[in-house]
Symmetry: C2
Subunit: 369 residues, 2 copies
């Protein structure tokens, strides 16, 4: 099968890496000539936000998919018109890439998501109470395009762009659940994972599985995932990011229509990884079992502050001596502060052992130049 992927980053790279165990051809497109996928696929340097570029890239493929949601969705719709299979489809990509449509999708489908109001260019009056979160309608990624407005004083920071203004949740835990649906209508859900974010970079830091949640919380999440899988009118793999608030209620923060950082620990922690599941979705194969064998966790390898240039991973040798510890680098030669360069997965027999290992690894490795 000729599989075209919009985006040539690490998500695409790990997708292709896993899928090399099947007999397909992979085509990727990315603006960066040295994108992580460039040397493991048929690579086109180009802008996946450009209508004609996406059309030209996709027209001769058996299926077109994405590893980033900020792509030209109109071109995806036109590819569908021309008979090319697009997974996830253009409609859900459009819905998710625009925060306003995404919030309306939750509201329409009774999927709990924090209260919000829409701010467009013409809005003058803000009714939502402080503190609230401003999320730009389009273009947010890895914590960009999102800010907290604490009080009236903060209003001067407000971006004058189409946005969602959302009630700030008093977060107890950040959770994530990855779900999949194929064209045959089969669905599968990965075990819920728990994130611990680095407050400075707003990038995922540790991600662990299983999480300590009550039966009630588990049931709320199950209700959300079941509802989502029921109403989503597209095959796809979706990462649903959740907040558990301090009153024990679960809210959907947002959904990514693609592979997700919060699913990386599934590479060694589950019967099958999110990358395998994505392959099953894209090729409309039977969905894979997602059972977690043991405790698993992940930490991102992020470029340290004050280092830019050819990357050096200090301390990796020590980490490779640790049992059940798995290093995944993304083939990026240049580091810069905050850049995601790789991740490390660990397995453990208990949550305590897991956390100890993750903290130990974090203290050992530094991504410098």
């Amino acid at each position: 099968m000729k599989i075209g992927i919009l985006g040539g980053g690490q998500l695409g790279r790990m997708f292709i890496q896993n899928a090399l165990k099947y007999d397909d051809e992979f085509y990727t497109i990315d603006p960066a000539s040295d994108a992580p996928c460039h040397n493991i696929s048929y690579f086109t340097q180009g802008n996946f936000k450009d209508y004609q570029t996406v059309l030209d890239f996709g027209k001769d493929k058996d299926v077109v998919t994405i590893e980033i949601e900020h792509v030209n969705a109109d071109a995806l719709a036109e590819l569908e018109n021309q008979g090319v299979k697009v997974v996830p489809n253009s409609k859900i990509v459009k819905t998710i890439q625009q925060k306003i449509l995404q919030k309306e999708f939750y509201k329409e489908n009774d999927i709990p998501s924090p209260d919000f109001e829409i701010m467009d260019g013409s809005s003058e009056e803000i009714k939502i109470e402080f503190p609230f979160v401003q999320k730009l309608n389009t273009g947010g990624y890895d914590g960009k395009g999102v800010q907290v407005i604490k009080d009236a004083d903060d209003l001067k920071k407000l971006w004058v762009e189409d946005s969602v203004l959302e009630k700030l949740v008093d977060i107890d835990k950040e959770l994530s659940v990855i779900v999949a649906k194929n064209e045959r209508g089969e669905t599968k859900t990965f075990p819920v994972t728990e994130m611990v974010a680095d407050p400075k970079l707003n990038l995922l830091d540790f991600n662990i599985c299983p999480t300590n949640i009550s039966d009630d919380v588990a049931q709320q999440i199950e209700k959300i995932t079941n509802k989502f899988l029921e109403v989503v009118e597209s095959p796809g793999l979706f990462a649903i990011e959740l907040f558990l608030d301090k009153n024990g209620k679960v809210w959907v923060n947002e959904t990514a229509p693609r592979l997700h950082n919060s699913g990386h620990q599934s590479q060694e922690g589950n019967a099958n990884s999110q990358f395998e599941q994505m392959y099953r979705v894209v090729t409309n194969s039977p969905l894979a079992d997602t059972e977690a064998f043991t405790f698993s966790g992940m930490l991102n390898l992020v470029g340290a502050d004050e280092f830019s240039g050819k990357v050096i991973y200090d301390g990796l040798d020590e980490v490779m001596k640790m049992p059940k510890t798995y290093v995944h680098l993304y083939g990026k030669t240049e580091t810069k502060p905050g850049r995601k360069m790789g991740h490390i997965n660990v397995l453990a027999d208990s949550r305590e052992e897991l956390m100890d290992k993750l903290i130990s690894i974090k203290s050992k490795v530094i991504v410098k130049s």
Copy 2:
């Protein structure tokens, strides 16, 4: 690191697939333009048995390794002279690729291997008792270059070429153990696996782990692997193929100085796979833990008789519905009778469940055209 691999087959492909999680560059060479590695590495079409070709291929690499032992070992020696790291080194490759030297290596080091005599062009008299096995000194592979001589009548079949004539072992079980040694002198051993061969094709059929062996047999094997790792004067990953005879004695059949079909189930069955271990060896990294988590097994997907041409995998969809079942195809577009096209790994909670799954899969899938 620039890693050069002599051979571009499935072993190289799976090695590269796994190693894509590190930041290296992979170069392969193979006579076949459509070799499994051709589209996932910097590929040279060429003959790895040719001295100058191997020299030209290897001279600018940081390390040169092999995924097949039938390569020009003199060129490897010359690369070593020129300062290129070769893993495994030319000396052990020479020893192993010549059955006569290999048998003498076992004898010198008190590693139990069936009694033998050497037949060269000038030998007239054969002293070894019937039945015996003739193994050509060079060029044997996947059961080729090996034959059983049952009685005096059979002597007319004898190949008139340099050979080892080896006492036929009355086999109870065929076992295999994969061991690794790095330049730092660290060693690791994978759990022993048990093979069930297809008598017709003489290719590995099922390979399962763990195996039902007595403590005494386990100790004999441990003694063999310890001795081998002690005396082998080269870093490398080695597959030691063993016979357990009907008197409970273990014999070394032969050793492959490379990744091996009998280690494929380690991809999902062990804490780390043979492919990861090979990467650790080649890059002189700390060796990986090899613990088996559960029962695991593998069956080869071999081209069915009477089918040649563009491959079709009949029944694969059914197999992909089975939990803890992993399909690995080798990127070969053309099938022919007996060609290794892929394999399927399964995990199970018991030996009985494992065998049931393997037998069920074998009945479901047919590799045709």
